[in-house]
């Protein structure tokens, strides 16, 4: 992701992936919205970055979609604060990171000053 148009490209790719995995309409919307928030974070705060899609499968056969959103920006100094609703240093509403966590089943962040940020989120399909 280097430009604003790339945010739309990310949404398209993630929407197509949710359809591929067999998500219902509400889950599609949840995952695309979470992707939009995380991609914008990486674009605005991280100066751009990459989004990787994976298709994990549980031993039970349940399928999922995993997004890894990575940037090499300044990192998040206070992660707890950044996960709190209403906290923002950018142009959103401050619901981006915490909101993405609520929209997905699994959520992990690796970040630190000067280390960039990697957010990994997964949503599992309902069977």
């Amino acid at each position: 992701m280097r430009t604003e148009e790339d945010l739309l490209t990310v949404r398209h790719a993630v929407r197509a992936a949710t359809v591929e995995v067999g998500f219902g309409l509400v889950d599609q919307t949840r995952v695309v919205t979470a992707a939009s928030e995380l991609a914008r974070n990486a674009y605005v705060h991280g100066g751009g970055g990459t989004v990787t899609l994976d298709y994990p499968r549980e031993p039970s056969g349940r399928r999922g979609l995993r997004l890894t959103v990575k940037d090499e920006g300044p990192g998040i100094a206070d992660l707890d604060a950044a996960l709190t609703d209403g906290f923002t240093t950018g142009s959103g509403l401050g619901h981006g990171l915490g909101g993405a966590r609520r929209l997905m089943d699994e959520f992990t962040v690796r970040t630190g000053p000067g280390e960039g940020t990697v957010v990994v989120v997964t949503r599992w399909a309902v069977r």
Partner: protein, 136 residues
């Protein structure tokens, strides 16, 4: 793409109400351009109400939500009432889970109910001339 970009969305005028809609391919810059154009039109045409159809929007993230809230506030300062109509149910569910309430933004189930709330009424009967021309 640089400089001003037209939002590419028609803004129709019905009496003192402006009617428009947002398309799904809404990027950040287009959202800002749309806000600016709509604000200009409200002022220039003395609009009393604005109806925004969002039934085409498949995603409302926090940026789009903020744009809608700011637009509503700016319109109110100009004396116009904004109603956002036609939100898709999955979008409504996702907004609630994101923790966004669209504070101050009036909503309607569909454009027809939104227009009714703005005081716009459908004619009870077709006009004399229109009826004569209708073949059934």
């Amino acid at each position: 793409m640089n400089g001003h970009r037209s939002p590419g969305v028609p803004i129709l005028r019905l009496g003192d109400v402006l009617v428009t809609g947002l398309l799904n391919e809404l990027d950040d810059r287009t959202a800002i351009a749309f806000t600016e154009e709509l604000t200009e039109r409200i002022s220039a045409e003395g609009a009393r109400g604005v109806l925004i159809d969002i039934s085409r929007l498949e995603v409302i993230d926090s940026f789009v939500a903020r744009t809608l809230m700011e637009l509503t506030t700016v319109a109110r300062l100009l004396g116009a009432r904004v109603i956002v109509a036609g939100m898709r149910p999955p979008v409504a569910i996702t907004l609630v889970e994101l923790g966004i309430e669209l504070v101050g933004v009036e909503t309607a189930l569909n454009p027809e109910q939104g227009l009714a709330a703005l005081g716009w009424r459908q004619a009870q009967q077709p006009l004399e001339g229109a009826r004569r021309g209708t073949a059934r």
